[in-house]
């Protein structure tokens, strides 16, 4: 049993290494991003920034009144054709945050979604690491029980 525990710990540590490497942080910058809103998506569909960046989003609507609400950060703005919206925030929380339209803009309004990704995505790396850990543990557990 001790051997398999050692094995598990070793694998988990080894797995953590690429995660730590991937999770390199970058210097915070000022970022200004223009997002176009149209029925029923945003262009670009994904916005990627780094942790600590001061992000300003300029929202442009090309057809009807749209909004933009960011999960987690809980900030929002809206735009009509010819009347842009804007919001600014510091991306202190990492991970993927859903950007949702906050103004009913047509039948598919609830499905009008974009993604804000604040790197590094510790949460994603951590969950994958956990999932792999569960996998390896389960294998070790069933092998271990074989030897009475």
């Amino acid at each position: 049993m001790k051997n398999s525990m050692k094995f598990l710990i070793m694998v988990l540590v080894l797995l953590a290494i690429p995660i730590v490497i991937l999770a390199q942080t970058e210097e915070p910058k000022e970022k200004v991003i223009t997002i176009n809103a149209q029925q029923f998506s945003y262009t670009p569909g994904t916005v990627e920034v780094n942790r600590g960046d001061r992000v300003t989003i300029r929202l442009i609507s090309t057809d009807v009144h749209h909004g933009l609400y960011i999960d987690g950060y809980e900030v929002s703005t809206d735009a009509r054709p010819g009347q842009d919206g804007s919001l600014t925030f510091v991306a202190n929380n990492t991970g993927k945050f859903v950007m949702r339209c906050s103004v009913t803009c047509g039948p598919f309004h609830p499905y009008m979604i974009g993604y804000l990704k604040v790197k590094p995505d510790y949460r994603l790396f951590g969950s994958i690491w956990l999932a792999v850990g569960i996998f390896i543990s389960s294998i070790l557990l069933v092998i271990r029980r074989q030897k009475p």
């Binding site: 057809d63 009807v64 009144h65 009509r80 054709p81 103004v103 009913t104 803009c105 047509g106 039948p107 309004h109």
Partner: protein
């Protein structure tokens, strides 16, 4: 009557109440809510999807009226009668599936424009109609 028959009748009444009764209660409640003043039901849709259900609203000077504006569209609309200084409270917008109610008594006769006040489509400027107020 046997107990079983009574149970059956009560069961039947409950089913009727649940179905027809619910519909009836809804209709009765709605009538009760809007009773009294003359109520005009105006539905709002963007011009390309039907526009207002009424292009002309006929009122009588001095008669109190209630205009119930139902937004049955999938985008927000607004409502105003600029020449009479009538507009919606708050944001001036009626969200989809929502209803705004305006109550007033027309004071002067004439032919006035009513219009949507929220950018709702590329044809928004065509979302208008006329209020025609006549003498008694």
């Amino acid at each position: 009557m046997e107990k079983k028959q009574i149970m059956e009748i009560i069961a039947g009444i409950l089913v009727l109440l649940a179905t027809v009764g619910t519909i009836g209660a809804a209709l009765l409640y709605d009538e009760h809510l809007w009773g009294g003043t003359r109520t005009i039901e105006l539905t709002a849709q963007a011009p390309e999807r039907g526009n207002w259900n009424m292009q002309e609203i006929h009122l009588v000077r001095g008669e109190p009226v209630r205009i119930k504006i139902r937004n049955i569209d999938t985008v927000s609309h607004g409502f105003a009668i600029p020449e009479l200084g009538i507009s919606l409270n708050g944001t001036g917008e009626i969200k989809p599936g929502n209803v705004a109610v305006i109550e007033f008594t027309p004071e002067k006769a004439g032919n006035f424009l009513f219009t949507c006040t929220t950018w709702c489509s590329t044809q928004h400027m065509q979302m208008t109609g006329r209020i025609i107020i006549s003498e008694k």
